[in-house]
Symmetry: C2
Amino acid sequence: MKELNIGLFGFGTVGTGIYKVLGSARNAHAAIRRICVHSLAKKRAIELPEGMLTDKAADILDDPCIDLIVEVVDNAEASYAIVTEALRRGIPVVSGNKAMIARHLPELIELQRANNTALLYDASACGSIPVIRNLEEYYDNDLLLEVKGILNGSSNYILSRVFDHGENYADALAKAQRLGFAEADPSFDIKGFDSLFKLVIITIHALGVYVKPEDVFAYGIATISDFDIRYAREKGVKIKLVAQVVKLDEGRFTLFVMPEFVAPGKYIYSVDDEYNGVVIRGECYDRQFMFGKGAGSLPTASSILSDVTARHHDYRYEYKKMSYSGRPVYTDDVTLRVYLRHPGPELPDGIKFEKITERYLSGDGCYTVGNISLASLRANKAILDDPSVFLCNIPRFFLDLD
Amino acid sequence: MKELNIGLFGFGTVGTGIYKVLGSARNAHAAIRRICVHSLAKKRAIELPEGMLTDKAADILDDPCIDLIVEVVDNAEASYAIVTEALRRGIPVVSGNKAMIARHLPELIELQRANNTALLYDASACGSIPVIRNLEEYYDNDLLLEVKGILNGSSNYILSRVFDHGENYADALAKAQRLGFAEADPSFDIKGFDSLFKLVIITIHALGVYVKPEDVFAYGIATISDFDIRYAREKGVKIKLVAQVVKLDEGRFTLFVMPEFVAPGKYIYSVDDEYNGVVIRGECYDRQFMFGKGAGSLPTASSILSDVTARHHDYRYEYKKMSYSGRPVYTDDVTLRVYLRHPGPELPDGIKFEKITERYLSGDGCYTVGNISLASLRANKAILDDPSVFLCNIPRFFLDLD
């Protein structure tokens, strides 16, 4: 079997992991020939052969010996430039950059078709759990009804510290940063953007429909307070940051990212720490659950390795469901039941419930529980992002399904 | 996209499920053209178009319009005859018959190669959970260390009734039979053969090595007693029927099916009722867990549908790992720690522990806990099958790993 010659872009945590894993996998039939980094001056954790590093993309892109590009650059713009240029030249790419992929999927699909090449990105959603590949290949039929899960390891780690270990939110966030589970600027994770990008990628492989990230309501845990945590504890539930895409009927589906009260007994209730867990619901098989490490150097590296091996067999995503007849259409015209914590007894300006079922007013804080439309949540996103407010989904939320 | 014309063999629970699911899946691009059954006289649950049924295999095998054979016959010999004949004629086959497949895998692989055709059987192991496909495609590298799980829904249902609902074993078995989870003769399930066949199939896709079912120690729950159940309850653990294949080191692996004491916190502890759950352990990703309905008409049918759809894209198992260098070799030269219940104070004739760590003697029953070699368990299988004896694995069992 021919050995694949890999040009690697990016040599941070994940890049280093890939280098290590490829070195130890005896039957990988692939080797890294050149690594392009931002700065040659930076000190590296492992010793590399002479001449392995370069800071010129052309040293890889122009090299006719390179069969495959693996791109794990920590910058969406740089990632976009490398990946699109490689695809234009007909060089297959494995990438883990969810933000870049989620934003540019239609163009990236078109580039693959036009240049008869492939872009694989299983590592971009749920690290080591093979969600994309399974949605594309195994759940490749009309039976799929819902994909729902915990897609962000950092925020889940923080929530686990709070709910399983009784820590307060600020301490938990600091600990996550210390352990490297959350970035120095953790907003990408805790504001729900990371989950959102993964959800957009999952949706195209689940239902064959691309939805722009900016058209999706994504709300994180950045404004959660001790008041909300106490409320959840009293009810015997945990708060988890949940991403979901759900078919409403034959013709319509919705998707969103939102904290959710999760009751014991639900599969995702026991997805703790930095783990990810995904529930796939279908018409015949009911619910299937996949669970594994969602982040980290080696889990991500092993996922990239699976994509590299798939390229040995010329595997590519076919995006089959995009050509299905009767694809459902995205809508945000659905009613959710939510918990909304707000600073005073009045609802924040602009927030309108369709129906209020509970109100709680006290000096410590106020909350309202009731039915509200997803479209109105999207329209009032700025108000909901205020630190004085926290929004949490109460399943089972599609009221017509109640 | 061309529509696949399917010839279906078998129209029992699963066959009927496939007929229903294919009828409702809008983008399946496949239709059942003819169904071959054992008896035309038998009353059927659904009405079929005139001329759909036949009792002559040749009506399907000789029909040049048939692109794919789906075989869900409830008889291993008949299954073998149909599948081998179809493959010899170059007709691709989807089959769910684990006993037949596990016994004849090397010949079936050779027939696929010689006749340039495909046999898919994801439905044969773990029903709706895509274990085979993921082992073949996604975990296609050297990093895999272990596959361990609950592969038999019937025995798991019975054990769940006992451990989660406090029923006694005889009542639970009767209830399983009444609900259709266990056959009138449940020995295939409760003696561990069903799990064994699935494990043999999993092993060839996990490690690239075929091990004959008769060379593997497979012990079920047929002789479990109230004494054993009480023992487990007192220790705060459940008894589960577990199948596992484990790499011992770079060069060796072992596999076996045995009841096991499972502690809370283990992934498989919460796999209850008729569900299956599989843990895949690897060097980089640690543990991944897949969970879903392992049996039943519709889950199995949806799994068969996934194989049918895969045939649209000419998918076949490549059995890549069989050509890997340095494949590990099967050994039963490993020491396990087990619990053995026996009728009198003496160990049954022939049973020799390497080391005994606990003995319990009473009028109600006696048990011995200690280290014993897997090879000696295999050699003394007949003794262990006696109703007066029950054997249960105590993990973490490979003592050199302790």
